[in-house]
């Protein structure tokens, strides 16, 4: 777990969070694909590897993420088991705040 910095726009270590908490457009890296063994193994085989760049394209159910160069559709409750970390926590603070407010 890293600490959040304000301003500057330097890439920082954000907290690891669940993929289902992201908004469309958020991007970062995969921390871990959790859940039952078969599930985690399957996710990893499909590309959810630790350190792999990931971006959320569609929230809701089903979720659509861009992982590497593939686009994968997932159910929301399955996505909740995937831990991710935002790449740049302060890329656009105003957008984040307005999204949070929505």
């Amino acid at each position: 777990m890293g600490r959040r910095h304000r301003g500057q726009g330097r890439p920082v270590q954000a907290a690891a969070e669940s993929l289902s908490a992201w908004f469309p457009g958020d991007e970062g890296v995969v921390v871990e694909a959790g859940g039952a063994p078969a599930f985690a193994a399957r996710l990893r085989e499909m590309g959810f590897l630790p350190g792999e760049p990931v971006r959320l394209l569609r929230a809701g159910c089903p979720l659509i993420v861009q992982i590497g160069d593939s686009r994968l559709g997932l159910r929301r409750r399955d996505a909740a088991l995937i831990q991710v970390r935002r790449a740049s926590a302060v890329s656009d603070p105003s957008k984040r705040q307005s999204q949070a407010a929505a």
């Binding site: 063994p37 399957r42 590897l49 630790p50 990931v54 394209l57 089903p62 994968l72």
Partner: protein, 750 residues
């Protein structure tokens, strides 16, 4: 040529055609490569679950001769989860009973997605089979400024890595050379440079290999490969373990159990599969380090922009419904002129037969059996072609995957997942490929449920039945202005019937079956692309040809048998009696009223002959059974006769009604024949309620031998097949009864 050694089967000792197995992740251009290498045009689906069948082709390699190339279903990993992947594993390990072990493996790897694709390659190296890697999508990679050092990668992996672009036929020559080199090579395959595992795992694997030596298909002792040993150790309850349990190799089974326990102790809490996955990715990262350069940032694609609309919950659903509506309405209007042309041709043939052939059983066979029967089915070819065309276009352009994603929401309501979407949708074209497509469903319970409700989806064989009866008995009244007609609406209702009923049935079946564990639903969305006209048209041609061949063989045979059963026995006494009555009538009357009298006589004669024929006797037996549905014995018999293939009901009714009306007027089109058909008391045989009950019966019944046989093969159980047949027949019977009495109560068609 050296003598074969007992432990390492050498290529030079091979006396069969060398076999190469083609494998790789889905959506990597595997099928395009297969086509390019073998020259056979095959189905190109950019959606997992479409290429399910095993496909084999031949190619010629310099210095080797003819080689067989086998295309395996796309798989992400050899830790087989779905039956699809299990097949791939079996073929690679030589466990498929009818296939000896492959001589080489050609793995196709997507250059834009190397990290994930190399996962499978790391497993393939562990099988010990000679391997060539084809690096595909190089054009896409270049467009995204991804640089891959193929030679460096080849050195690192220890296998040839050939960049190709299958769609543009680039790199195929070097690929062929690499394959030829591999097959010509007499030396034993090099040790695989695969992932390095921690000691606990490797020791367990070695222990298993030591006891795992067994005779292969040719009777020579072969070692358990590293890959098999690893899978047995790590995949608890997996495919290979289940296979092992069904073979009698008690020492190995015991050892597997022992080693697993030891492994758990030594790993002290970490699951073995996690250790394996971590080791593999460490190996992958090491392999790619310095040999792949990527821009780093995730780049959006044009597909993403399109998806923003098409996967939107509101707009996406609207688009899907619009697409479905276009397809259905088009099925009706676009094919009309073609259908009329075919009908015209058939009428002409009938007239020719009347003039050319002498009266008697041969002429009756040709007209009422062959032409009436088969022709009535061929007339619907345009509609079936259009249906296949629409489905092919949607698949090829990539929209199907999005539709499956949207459908996941709805499908999860009856407990299934979006993965059931393609099997169920394909069943709208034909139940056989639809049921086979269910192989990609990981969850065993979901798979069984999908297979059991797939036949409820109104397949293309039911379409002629609907169209015929709707055209004959449903008034062509426009609804909502001229946008939709009552006929189109009825067609839509028939299609929806099976779909709507499938929901509670699927839900109920799922509750009834034991829960086997929830598999994750992960669906890959391929990039949108313009559908290739050549591929689409080829697929339409292949599918319609299959339909025609069915009409040609099964239905032809069934129709002729039906005709014979309806024609014979033909007692001369009855014919003589009616001839006498005809003469009497002609003598006694000379007014216009005579024609009606002759008509009536002819009808009575046909009816009586039919009544005492073999078919008629059978029909009379079951008449009380079908009376509640508003049917008479002829419809009942036609339903019985259509057991091998539903379309036969049309030709059966054609035969029965043609024979039962004016035998001297051939080529009366079926619609008219149906309208004119009369019961014994002179009332029309078919009214709107009766037509509806027939349509509902065929919408829900399991009248298709091919589908039932496929069902048995895919479920491996006659019990489930019998259950499917039973529940659908009961449903069809009940539904037909409700339709008939309901329509009468509502006063429709009165």
């Amino acid at each position: 040529m050296s003598l074969p050694e007992p432990s390492a089967p050498l290529p030079s000792a091979r006396h069969h055609t060398p076999r190469i197995v083609l494998t790789g992740n889905p959506n990597t251009g595997k099928t395009t490569l297969f086509n390019a290498l073998t020259g056979l045009a095959q189905r190109v689906g950019n959606f997992p679950g479409v290429t399910v069948e095993r496909k084999a082709g031949r190619l010629t390699l310099a210095g080797v001769g003819q080689v067989e190339l086998l295309d395996l279903p796309g798989t992400y990993s050899l830790a087989a989860c779905s039956p699809d992947e299990a097949i791939a594993v079996d073929v690679l390990l030589g466990h498929q009973a009818d296939l000896p072990r492959a001589d080489a493996v050609l793995a196709i790897v997507d250059a834009t997605n190397l990290r994930r694709n190399l996962y499978l390659v790391s497993q393939l190296l562990e099988t010990g089979l000679p391997l060539v890697v084809a690096l595909s999508m190089t054009d896409l990679a270049a467009a995204q400024r991804i640089e891959v050092d193929a030679d460096g990668l080849a050195r690192q992996l220890g296998v040839p890595v050939i960049p190709i672009c299958a769609g543009r036929r680039k790199g195929l020559e070097p690929l062929r050379e690499a394959l030829a080199d591999l097959l010509r090579d007499d030396s034993p395959p090099p040790r695989p440079l695969g992932p390095r595992y921690p000691e606990p795992l490797t020791e367990g694997m070695q222990a298993l290999v030591a006891v795992g030596t067994h005779p292969d298909a040719d009777g020579r002792p072969t070692e358990l490969s590293a890959m098999e040993a690893l899978r047995l150790l790590v995949d608890e309850g997996g495919h290979l373990e289940q296979q092992l349990a069904s073979q009698s190799r008690p020492e190995l089974s015991r050892r597997v159990a022992d080693e697993r326990i030891r492994l758990h102790h030594r790993l002290d809490g970490t699951a073995p599969y996690e250790v394996e996955i971590a080791a593999r990715y460490a190996w992958i990262d090491e392999a790619l380090d310095g040999r792949v350069r990527t821009p780093g940032r995730l780049r959006p694609s044009s597909s993403d922009r399109i998806d923003r609309v098409l996967t939107d919950r509101v707009y996406g659903s609207i688009v899907f419904l619009a697409v479905a509506a276009v397809v259905f309405q088009g099925l009706y209007s676009w094919s009309a002129p073609l259908m009329e042309a075919i009908e015209y041709l058939l009428n002409g043939l009938g007239q020719a037969a009347v003039t050319l052939l002498p009266g008697g059983s041969l002429r009756s066979l040709v007209i009422d059996g062959v032409i009436a029967g088969v022709g009535a089915v061929l007339v619907f070819l345009p509609q079936i072609a259009i249906l296949f065309l629409c489905i092919s276009i949607l698949e090829d352009c990539g929209y199907m995957a999005r539709a499956a994603l949207l459908a996941d929401r709805l499908l999860s309501l009856c407990g299934l997942s979006g993965k059931s979407f393609i099997p169920l949708l394909s069943s709208f074209a034909c139940g056989v490929p639809g049921i086979m497509a269910a192989r990609t469903i990981d969850d065993r319970r979901d798979r069984l449920v999908t297979i059991l409700v797939a036949p409820l989806m109104s397949c293309s064989a039911r379409l002629p039945i609907y169209v015929l009866f709707i055209a004959a008995f449903v008034p062509a009244r426009p609804i909502l202005g001229s946008w939709l007609s009552l006929q189109g609406l009825t067609l839509l209702a028939m299609y929806s019937l099976g779909l709507v009923l499938a929901v509670p049935i699927a839900w109920g079946l799922r509750r009834f079956l034991r829960h086997q564990g929830a598999a994750p639903f992960v669906m890959e969305l391929p990039a949108y692309r313009w559908p290739g006209p050549r591929t689409v048209l080829l697929r339409v041609y292949q599918n319609t040809r299959a339909f025609v061949v069915r009409a040609g063989s099964v239905i032809m045979a069934a129709t002729v048998v039906m005709w014979a059963l309806a024609y014979f026995p033909r007692p001369d006494s009855i014919i003589a009696r009616y001839e006498q009555e005809r003469q009497e009538l002609l003598v006694n009357c000379s007014e216009p009223g005579c024609a009606d009298g002759l008509d009536k006589l002819a009808r009575q004669e046909s009816s009586e002959l039919l009544h005492q024929s073999v078919l008629g006797s059978a029909g009379r037996l079951i008449e009380p059974l079908v009376a509640p549905l508003g049917w008479d014995w002829r419809i009942g018999v036609a339903a019985l006769a259509s057991f091998p293939a539903r379309e036969v009901v049309i030709s059966a009714l054609g035969t029965l009604c043609n024979l039962g009306t004016e035998p001297g007027a051939p080529g009366t089109d079926l619609r008219t024949a149906l309208r004119q058909a009369r019961r014994n008391d002179g009332t029309p045989l078919f009214t709107l309620p009766v037509a509806l009950s027939v349509m509902v019966f065929f919408a829900l019944c399991a009248q298709c031998l091919s589908t039932l046989i496929t069902l048995q093969r895919e479920t491996g159980s006659w019990g489930w097949t019998a259950f499917a047949f039973g529940y659908m027949t009961a449903l069809a019977y009940g539904g037909a009864m409700v339709a008939y009495h309901g329509a009468r109560a509502l006063g429709w068609g009165a």
